[in-house]
């Protein structure tokens, strides 16, 4: 066998191992969890085993799926608002320093105030669904704003000089220089905002949940807690985690596809 062939085999082997090893660890962890629950006879209302959680996930799927959908829609609305609002505000700040000085403190205030503390107020002032989306927006928009602002101001100085030399208008500089240069930063901000929007939505749903009419996944978790339906609580938690992972994965994929031809972050080690 040639040297190249051997290397090819070992690469394929490494790839297989890199998939197999985490899977083995996962199965082992689940098995230990299940065994601990069974051997100690822990009742399900204290700690359900993974099999029971899975069973509950299947049996309660109709209720849980409906709730998941509600939460995901809230998250998506909050995320879109955060993305549009964050990018738009950063563009505005980039064009006018005065606006930035005047408005940036409020963005920081929104960011540093815990959303769980604002949610009850918002629920008083706004219709419930609007309040929940607003919470998702508040949490998500700051990373988009600050990342976009950073990206817009990280333009190569000589490239900026070149645009000046060729008499580029403000709009041309923005469209052909600043926005493309900021794209990796914007995508990084969006990746953070995706997960945060989900957190914002869940927090707001829990705050709203005590008021009654909620139907999102977080409401199911709170409700299951009151009823000591711990297996369903776990099932809802699993769904939330999976939703978070999928959102992050999707945004990472979009980022990779957009940047793969030019940005360092998306290039393989070989390049």
């Amino acid at each position: 066998m040639s040297a190249g062939g051997q290397r090819g085999t070992s690469t394929a082997g490494t790839r297989l191992a890199s998939l197999a090893f985490p899977a083995v660890v996962f199965v082992a962890a689940m098995t230990i969890w299940e065994l601990v629950v069974r051997i100690n006879g822990i009742p399900p209302y204290v700690l359900p085993g993974p099999l029971l959680v899975l069973k509950t996930l299947v049996s309660d799927w109709d209720i849980l799926a409906q709730s998941l959908l509600t939460t995901l829609i809230t998250t998506l609305e909050g995320f879109i608002a955060a993305a549009l609002g964050g990018i738009a505000l950063a563009l505005l700040f980039n064009q006018s320093r005065w606006l930035e000085w005047a408005l940036f403190p409020y963005a920081v205030v929104l960011q540093v105030t815990p959303v769980i503390a604002i949610a009850p107020l918002l629920l008083i002032y706004l219709p419930q669904q609007t309040a929940v989306v607003t919470c998702a927006w508040i949490v998500g928009f700051f990373p988009v704003l600050s990342n976009t602002a950073l990206g817009l101001s990280s333009v190569d100085r000589n490239l900026a000089g070149l645009f000046q030399l060729y008499g580029a208008s403000r709009w041309q500089t923005l469209r052909h220089l600043k926005l493309p240069a900021a794209l990796p930063y914007i995508l990084g901000g969006l990746r953070i905002a995706g997960g945060l929007s989900l957190i914002g939505a869940v927090v707001a749903e829990i705050a709203a949940g005590s008021a009654g009419a909620g139907s999102g996944l977080a409401y199911r978790i709170a409700e299951s807690g009151y009823r000591l339906n711990i297996p369903r609580m776990f099932a809802a938690l699993v769904l939330l985690s999976v939703a978070g992972i999928v959102i992050y994965g999707l945004l990472a994929l979009v980022s990779h596809l957009v940047l793969r031809r030019w940005h360092e972050s998306a290039l393989g080690k070989d390049n």
Partner: protein, 266 residues
């Protein structure tokens, strides 16, 4: 910047600086006072130690910064279109946009001045052919070698068919063989395109090989300390190996040496 087109054109001057100084906002005196004249169609090198203000001088001529005092006339800037169309600028780094193809990078000056795509395309292709990158139009900058990136940068400067080409240590980061090749290609382009070239470098050898006149600058704030005309029948390996070339290099080195005394002394 004051401009008096007719008189400068009549005198055949592309660039004229009289008592020009540049003091940065920080209070650092970067340049001058400097008096400098470059004739239309001339190839002039500006040679000096790092930080002497040669790059600043180029940025002033390009209009990227304004002089603190003195008068600066650039014949090209009086053309009917924007100054940028008549001036090409090549930076020390290739300064390409990494997110788009070589073609789009080279076509940038045309796009910024709203040249229709139909008209721009053949001009971009011509510029790419001039620098030998015709086959790499669709490549992305990161796929090119250092020399090829510099060629793309040069093509971008040439695409507007500039009267004056300003080059700021363009080949300083390249290996010697690549630099020699680019030097020869640049000379060929200069001859065929009828441009004025103002070439900033800190290499004595490069300045002697390329230019008709070497202007030597002092340490910061840079002033002109010497002017050495280089006369050569041809510019090729034979010239590089000739006694005349060695003699020019020695003279230029001697003229440059005082700039390295003081803080630069070893």
């Amino acid at each position: 910047m004051s401009s008096s087109p007719s008189s400068e054109r009549a005198a055949g001057l592309a660039v004229r600086m009289r008592g020009v100084t540049k003091v940065y906002d920080s209070g650092v005196a970067a340049l001058g006072p400097i008096d400098l004249a470059v004739r239309t169609g001339e190839f002039v090198s500006l040679l000096g130690p790092s930080g002497c203000g040669k790059s600043t001088a180029l940025r002033l001529i390009a209009g990227l910064a304004s002089p603190s005092s003195g008068s600066l006339d650039v014949a090209a800037s009086t053309s009917t279109t924007h100054a940028g169309h008549r001036i090409g600028f090549v930076f020390q780094e290739p300064t390409l946009m990494p997110w788009t193809s070589v073609r789009d990078n080279v076509g940038l000056p045309l796009k910024l001045s709203h040249v229709p795509a139909v008209e721009a395309r053949p001009r971009i292709d011509a510029a790419l052919a001039q620098v030998g990158l015709a086959d790499f139009a669709d490549a992305f900058p990161r796929e090119l070698s250092g020399g090829m990136k510099m060629r793309a940068s040069l093509a971008r400067a040439l695409v507007t068919r500039p009267d004056i080409l300003l080059m700021d240590e363009p080949f300083a980061a390249l290996d010697e063989i690549t630099r020699f090749r680019l030097n020869d290609d640049l000379l060929a382009l200069w001859r065929s395109l009828n441009m004025t070239v103002l070439f900033v470098t800190h290499s004595v050898f490069e300045s002697v090989y390329l230019s008709q006149r070497v202007l030597v600058m002092t340490a910061r704030p840079g002033r002109l300390s010497a002017e050495i005309g280089i006369e050569a029948e041809t510019r090729d390996d034979a010239f590089r190996a000739s006694a005349a070339y060695a003699e020019y290099c020695r003279r230029v080195s001697d003229a440059l040496a005082p700039a390295y005394t003081g803080v630069h002394a070893l």
